[in-house]
Symmetry: C2
Subunit: 342 residues, 2 copies
DNA sequence: GTTAGCACTCTTATGCAACGAGTGCTAATT
DNA sequence: AATTAGCACTCGTTGCATAAGAGTGCTAAC
């Protein structure tokens, strides 16, 4: 374990490097430190810290930079989540106070807010139908052979898709079918719906309308509406501000990743328990983000839905500040979401 | 006007520069040309072309590169839209042949296809409700004070939003109200709906249910669902492959632009008449894309909806190839869309 | 245990020369 | 009159050596 002075110096190095993105030398630390110690002493300590793996040297005569282990120690023991500033509060208030009358808008807006507060790229993932219940099923006929199938959940989420109607079924019958389905299934958990729907509904189906051979196919189409989870991005180009991403080779993997929503989804999804999680460099399995750190906060709202907000930046990231913001945001976010949901 | 040889040489320069991204020298042109002329002759002609503004010199002793005027002449007179290859056709077929059962998927997929065929960033804009007609209005109650308002157009597009229901109105009454609205307004043009709805519906409203003071407010909320136009992107990171965008300063304006969907929408929207339009460098008013060219193709489908596909690349763009692809795509795209709509 | 001093290392910046690609001009050729 | 060969000239690029600067590691002194 690190002693007092070692911790203090490690903290100074990490802070300074986060600010400047330049290797930190012993003289700088000596000047910044409140303890009155000479650069030479600092050098000895820094040498120890390097030996223990908390610091690294880009080359023999440069200053030190934090290793991933160093960042990890900093995040776990040294930093204090920074409270957000008065103006940050104002920004959040302002945006959340607008009536956001649609779930999607809340999520999208949140991505923007987080990105503009942190100056990093943000990724917001809403598990839209995780534990939502079915509220309504309907089919709106458009022509003799097509219609729009609608599934509304009790959280206000709507899924729709154009379906083709088998020629042996009339649009009116389809609507009747939808109505029965709606009454029967109202209140069912969405994920239960997906898993158990087939046996159950098939039985009902044959009871009410055994003449519809093509109906199962239709039903199948409706349920394929699988409450896809969506990923929202904010501030994609913030990464361009970071000195470590000034070359295209560094940039490409990150930008490619941001374009691939499936991978992003996978990246953000795991955490079961709510709270803030910090992944530094290689702690994340994705090679694309080996030079990045990812801070994710997962919020449970109403104890039912979970939301995950991710902030992606260089390993040299303002951990304290970002975590402070994510902590604060929890409140405003929950309020906005439950206002919409309720 | 340029004579035969000048045109031929201009074409060679543009072709070669598009391929190599390097200034083209007289010797190169001489070798590539079918005419048997010496580099010196070529130099004279290139010098003339430069004087006329079709070519430029980055510095005194480099080869020539096309000016925007040069690209313009090339696009207007010299190039032949390149037919797409057998494998391109296969790609398009394969993707369009999958059942794309939702409008949005068609558009999104198209963006991907265009980008992967052209190797440039693509922007697809669907004027979703341009001339669509209202097919159905509904309100699904979620609780005593909230519900989901749905508007379905005859093209199968669905708009939804969570609305709050005034306390003096019961959910059942809201549904009744929605049903009346739906019957009354079915078949109305969406844009007419927006502009004329208020006078007309207000009259109906008071006739059927003058007790609802808060109903207008509700209606207002529903109609605010304004069939927003969406922009879809494909291959955002393709721009990273271009040698002229290897520095962050060059990259930033373009990536920023791609993130700003409103501006993108504005960028693509103008053309009234269908067909392919080429904007080279400063021909576009947006400073962000002063180093880019934009090729847009606008398709009218069923004579009702219009779609715009844009391809964004460096001014040194494979105009002939991209235009060829966009021409071909028109067919597959129209077919896929009308299959969904019908 | 701490500090001062100094040699050493490594990176970055700078200047300079050599090189090469390509032009422009002139004179010769067709 | 148009074309071409030849040649001097320009300008950017590359390679290399040198200088400067930042920072370390080590030793000896405090």
């Amino acid at each position: 374990m690190l002693n007092e002075r070692e911790q203090s110096i490690l903290r100074l190095v990490v802070d300074d490097y986060i600010r400047s993105a330049e290797p930190v030398g012993s003289r700088t630390v000596s000047k910044r430190s409140t303890m009155q110690v000479s650069p030479a002493t600092i050098r000895n300590v820094m040498s120890d810290l390097e030996e223990m793996g908390y610091l690294e040297q880009p080359h023999t005569s440069a200053g030190r930079i934090p290793s991933e282990k160093g960042y990890r120690f900093y995040v776990d023991h040294l930093m204090m989540p920074v409270g957000i500033t008065r103006s940050d509060v104002a920004t959040v208030r302002e945006i959340f106070l607008q009536i956001m009358d649609q779930m999607e808008q809340v999520v999208q807006q949140t991505a923007q807010i987080v990105s503009s507060l942190t100056n990093y790229t943000s990724i917001v993932l809403g598990s839209l139908t995780e534990t939502a219940k079915l509220a309504h099923v309907d089919v709106i006929p458009l022509s003799e052979t097509s219609g729009v199938a609608l599934i509304v959940t009790d959280s206000g989420h709507v899924e729709n898709r154009v379906i083709s109607i088998p020629p042996e079924i009339s649009p009116a019958e389809v609507q009747k079918f939808a109505r029965i389905l709606s009454d029967k299934l109202k209140g069912t958990d969405m994920h239960r719906l997906k898993s158990e729907l087939f046996q159950e509904v098939q039985r009902e189906l044959t009871r009410y309308m055994d003449e519809f051979s093509g109906a199962m196919q239709l039903l199948n189409q409706i349920v394929k509406t699988d409450g896809e989870e969506r990923v929202y991005l904010g501030g994609t180009t913030k990464i361009l501000n970071q000195p470590e991403f000034q070359t295209v080779e560094k940039l490409r993997p990150v930008l490619d990743l941001l374009e691939n929503h499936d991978t992003l989804f996978h990246l953000l999804s795991p955490p079961d328990k709510p709270g803030v999680r910090v992944q530094i460099g290689h702690e994340n399995e994705l090679v694309e983000v080996r030079d990045c750190s990812l801070i994710t906060a997962t919020y449970a709202i109403d104890g039912r839905k979970t939301w995950t907000i991710g902030v992606l930046g260089p390993t040299r990231m303002e951990y304290a500040r970002v975590i402070g913001i994510l902590n604060y945001l929890n409140e405003g976010f929950s309020a906005a979401v439950s206002r919409v949901v309720k």
